[in-house]
């Protein structure tokens, strides 16, 4: 596709998102924010899965670390949202550093199982450390106080106000992750996915780079967690449950592992589809599974990957 078309497309999407924030009702705004938050989670996650070739089943732990980090900061330190977001992301990155240190020594199924095991440990810690995390009740009543920047005070309490905060971090994440994809670091990660022995013989400490990817993806998971807790105003240990870790995996698969925009499209499909299916039936999981199967088996390379393939084929003829 032509470069200008791509700019135009991004411009149109941005204009649409801003128009949405200015005009849509609370429910649509809520859904849009859920999509964006999930997209941040999945975009970061796909840096690890699609780019580096590591399948993690423990990223809910970092999502929860972000969410609990922000909540605890709000309760004990200051309710300033930016401080909470900063501390939440830092907590998630730090946790990812510790867990990743042990996990990146292994690959494939062993890596996946280790991340799963660590994820379960984090879940059980959050469940049991009642005095800090509130146990199974979680932490609640996290309100969105105004963002004060010196003399400027930006209220974010209302849905449409907070929408622009989420939009800002959503765009920031897209920008950062896009830059990472095109950077030497991103190229090295792709090299490690393709052939980690060769990467080592190209002069790269492969484990350190895997850990780097793990921490970066963990930090974005944490960012998603902080934004989610501000949206929902509460957090329970289930945020760190391993079933939550499956979400970015599915989202990346739906959209396309080997594409940059795959997780974006996947997030829209995931959230909207679930919302629609839930309207019609109580056992939404069954129908959701059926639809997922169809997408994953019917669209090899995900929705974005296979669409790009089709476009390429037709534009060549």
């Amino acid at each position: 596709m032509n470069r200008y078309w791509i700019y135009a497309l991004w411009g149109a999407v941005l204009a649409m998102l801003i128009a949405l924030g200015l005009s849509a009702g609370p429910f649509v705004l809520y859904l849009a924010m859920r999509v964006m938050i999930l997209a941040i989670f999945a975009l970061g996650y796909n840096l690890l899965l699609g780019r580096t070739g590591l399948l993690s089943f423990g990223h809910a732990a970092f999502y929860a670390a972000g969410a609990y980090g922000l909540s605890l900061a709000t309760i004990h330190i200051s309710p300033h949202p930016l401080l909470g977001i900063f501390l939440g992301v830092a907590a998630a990155a730090f946790l990812a550093l510790i867990i990743g240190f042990f996990c990146v020594r292994h690959t494939e199924i062993y890596f996946a199982m280790l991340t799963l095991a660590f994820g379960m440990m984090v879940f059980s810690l959050m469940w049991n450390a009642r005095s800090v995390t509130g146990g199974d009740d979680g932490l609640y009543g996290i309100t969105r106080t105004a963002i004060s920047l010196g003399i400027l005070k930006i209220p974010i309490y209302k849905e449409y106000q907070y929408y622009f905060v989420v939009l800002f971090f959503f765009l920031l994440s897209i920008f950062l992750i896009y830059r990472i994809y095109r950077s030497p670091f991103g190229l090295v990660l792709a090299g490690i996915r393709e052939n980690h022995v060769r990467a080592e013989f190209a002069g790269l400490p492969v484990k350190a780079y895997r850990l780097g990817a793990f921490v970066v993806s963990g930090a974005f998971a944490g960012l998603a967690g902080t934004l989610a807790v501000l949206l929902e105003s509460n957090i329970t240990p289930f945020a760190s449950h391993w079933s939550r870790s499956a979400e970015p995996v599915l989202v990346s698969l739906i959209g396309g592992l080997q594409t940059f925009t795959g997780p974006l499209v996947g997030s829209i499909v995931f959230v909207v589809l679930r919302e629609v299916v839930e309207r019609f039936t109580h056992n939404w999981m069954f129908w959701f599974g059926v639809i997922l199967l169809a997408i994953i088996m019917g669209f090899r390379g995900g929705i974005v990957g296979s669409t790009a393939e089709i476009v390429k084929r037709y534009s060549r003829v």
């Binding site: 950062l176 830059r179 990472i180 095109r182 950077s183 030497p184 670091f185 190229l187 090295v188 792709a190 090299g191 393709e194 052939n195 022995v197 060769r198 990467a199 080592e200 013989f201 190209a202 002069g203 790269l204 400490p205 492969v206 780079y209 780097g212």
Partner: protein, 253 residues
């Protein structure tokens, strides 16, 4: 005039009952193109694996440019200038040729961890990559994925990746395996030309005796993990022990 690049001291390696390296003790000098020959199972590949850090020796030491690297990980050896290519095609298949070569260039230039600046913004990296691709004659295909290349060109790319890491000493593990005569001539020309500049000292493991005797300054013959002969190509050709070992092998010396 000769300067010792690699110094191998009493190197031993056994896999169970099989001895793959027995008391190996030798040096590689700068600028001396050495070939390692020997029948299958002689321990040639093990030797490369031991020296490049892929395998750890049971005992013995490896010194590179006056430094003990016996326990250094692979990537550190590469950064010091000790590289290798592989017997089978071992490239980044789904990446373009440019990217394939850019990875080692970024690694040795210490730019690989740069997070937010695009690869293309590093002009000196780009220049390096183009020079390496140009050297092996693959610059036309720079933006093709590696898997789209012919087998012979993939082997060339393999050598290009190894060269991109700016090695002082480069092991080539059967560089002509599976190549057609045209490709073979091309890669041998490349090796000769690069060796001629004096920047890179090659150590080649080869089955093809034509290649060995036309390229090498020195030949080491291995048998069951031991050095049975070490000398100029002429000396090796005349060596009765080598002839005995090779008797019945596919090669006639």
């Amino acid at each position: 005039m000769s300067e010792t690049l690699l110094d191998v001291r009493k190197l031993n390696k056994a896999f169970g009952m099989v001895t793959a390296a027995k008391n190996l003790d030798f040096t590689f000098q700068r600028g001396v193109l050495t070939s390692v020959i020997g029948p299958n199972g002689a321990g040639k590949s093990t030797l490369i694996n031991l020296l490049s850090g892929h395998l750890a020796p049971d005992s013995g030491e490896v010194w590179f440019q006056g430094r003990d690297i016996t326990h250094e990980p692979v990537y550190r050896r590469v950064k010091q200038g000790l590289c290798r290519s592989f017997q089978v095609v071992n490239v980044f298949s789904n990446l373009t040729l440019f990217e394939n070569v850019a990875i080692p260039v970024l690694a040795v230039r210490g730019k690989a961890h740069t997070l937010l600046k695009p690869v293309t913004a590093h002009k000196e990296v780009q220049a390096d990559v183009e020079r390496v691709l140009d050297r092996v004659g693959l610059s036309e295909q720079a933006h093709m994925p590696a898997r789209a290349l012919s087998h012979g060109d993939q082997r060339l790319l393999e050598v290009a990746i190894a060269l991109a890491a700016k090695p002082r000493l480069l092991f080539l593990d059967e560089p002509t395996a599976g190549m057609n005569p045209v490709e073979r001539t091309k890669i041998l020309g490349n090796i000769r030309q690069v060796a001629g500049t004096g920047d890179v000292t090659f150590v080649i493991v080869e089955h093809d005796m034509d290649v060995v005797f036309s390229l090498s300054d020195r030949v080491i013959a291995l048998h069951r993990g031991e050095i049975i002969a070490d000398g100029t190509p002429e000396e090796i050709k005349m060596n009765p022990h080598v002839r005995e070992v090779y008797l019945g092998e596919e090669v006639r010396i």
